[in-house]
C-alpha cells in the first residue's frame, strides 16, 4: 500500500462507520411505533397497489447505460494521455502526442456518427 493512502483508508472506514453506527444506535433509542399493516404499504398517493412494481420498463435505459459504459472506457483511456501530454510537448513530440489519440477518437467517431444516423441517441423515440 502506498503510504499516502493509509489515512484515506482509515477515513473511508470512519465514513462507513458514521451512518452504520448511527443507524444501529438510533434503533435502540428511538421511540417505538404503532400502526397496522396498511402503514407499511408502498406509498402510491394513498391507493393500495394492485400489481407488483416489477413490471417491464423501457429498454432505452439499457441503451443509455451501454453507451455510458463504452464512453466511460474512452474517458479512462484519455486520463493517462492527458497526464503525459505536457511532457511530450516539452520533448517536442507534439505529433506523437496528438496522432494516436486522433486515431482512437476517430475510430470512435465513426461509431458515434453511425449511432447518430441510426437514432440510438434519440432516446425518446427508441423502442
Amino acid at each position: 500500500m502506498p503510504p499516502a493512502y493509509i489515512p484515506l483508508l482509515l477515513f473511508s472506514l470512519l465514513v462507513l462507520a458514521f451512518p452504520v453506527v448511527t443507524l444501529i444506535v438510533l434503533k435502540y433509542i428511538r421511540p417505538g411505533s404503532g400502526g397496522g399493516p396498511t402503514k407499511f404499504q408502498p406509498y402510491e398517493y394513498g391507493i393500495l397497489p394492485e400489481t407488483s412494481a416489477s413490471r417491464p420498463y423501457s429498454t432505452r435505459f439499457y441503451i443509455i447505460a451501454m453507451l455510458f459504459v463504452i464512453f466511460n472506457v474512452e474517458t479512462v483511456f484519455l486520463f493517462p494521455w492527458a497526464v503525459l501530454f505536457r511532457s511530450w510537448l516539452a520533448a517536442h513530440l507534439a505529433g506523437f502526442a496528438l496522432i494516436p489519440m486522433f486515431v482512437f477518437l476517430g475510430i470512435l467517431l465513426v461509431g458515434y456518427v453511425w449511432l447518430y444516423k441510426k437514432g440510438a441517441f434519440d432516446l425518446a423515440s427508441l423502442r
Partner: protein, 174 residues
C-alpha cells in the same frame, strides 16, 4: 506487516462475497456481492501500488459495468428469485470437475513455491519506486510499447457499441 494485514482483509472480503454472489437466488443480491468483490479487488490493486488500475476498476467495473447489469436486471424483471431445479446431476459433475482443475492448479502452485529458478518464486516485490508515478508510468507504457493494442481497443469498443445497439433494437415477429 501492515501490508499483509491489508491484503488479508481485502482478500477475505473478496472471497466471502464471491461465494455469496454465486449462491444468492435473487440476481440483484448477486450483483451487490459482485460489487463488494470488485471493490475488495480494487483495494488489492491499491495494495499492489497499481493506483490507476484501482480507480479504473472503480470507475469502469463498479460504476459502469455493474450499473449496466443492475439496469438490465430491473428492466427484464429478473429481480425475483428464480427456481434452481433441473441440472441436478450435471451440477455435481460440474462442481467435481471444477474442483479437480482447481486442486491441480493449487498443487502446482504449492509445490512450485519453493523450487528456485522455476519462475514462481518471488518472495519480495520489486522496489516500489519502479512503478512510482503510477499513472505516468502506465501512460508511458500504454502509449509506447502498447500503442497498437490501444488503437485496437477502440475498434473493440466500436464493435461493441454497434453490436449492442443492433442486438437491443432487433425485433423479430415470431
Amino acid at each position: 506487516m501492515l501490508d499483509s494485514v491489508i491484503f488479508y482483509f481485502f482478500a477475505g472480503i473478496a472471497i466471502v462475497s464471491a461465494v455469496l454472489m454465486i449462491t444468492r437466488r435473487n440476481a440483484i443480491h448477486s450483483a451487490i456481492f459482485l460489487i463488494t468483490t470488485l471493490l475488495a479487488t480494487a483495494g488489492i490493486f491499491l495494495q499492489l501500488r497499481a493506483e490507476f488500475l484501482f480507480i479504473s476498476q472503480i470507475i469502469l467495473f463498479v460504476g459502469g459495468i455493474m450499473v449496466l447489469f443492475i439496469f438490465v436486471i430491473i428492466l427484464v424483471r429478473l429481480d425475483v428469485p428464480l427456481p434452481q431445479v433441473r441440472w441436478r446431476t450435471q451440477k455435481w459433475i460440474a462442481l467435481l470437475v471444477t474442483l479437480a482443475v482447481g486442486m491441480e492448479a493449487g498443487v502446482v502452485l504449492w509445490f512450485a513455491r519453493k523450487i528456485p529458478g522455476q519462475g514462481l518464486i518471488f518472495p519480495n516485490p520489486a522496489p516500489a519506486d519502479k512503478l512510482h508515478p503510477n499513472t505516468e508510468e502506465l501512460a508511458r507504457s500504454l502509449f509506447g510499447s502498447y500503442l497498437l493494442p490501444f488503437e485496437i481497443a477502440s475498434v473493440l469498443l466500436l464493435v461493441a457499441m454497434v453490436g449492442a445497439v443492433v442486438m437491443a433494437k432487433k425485433r423479430i415477429d415470431a
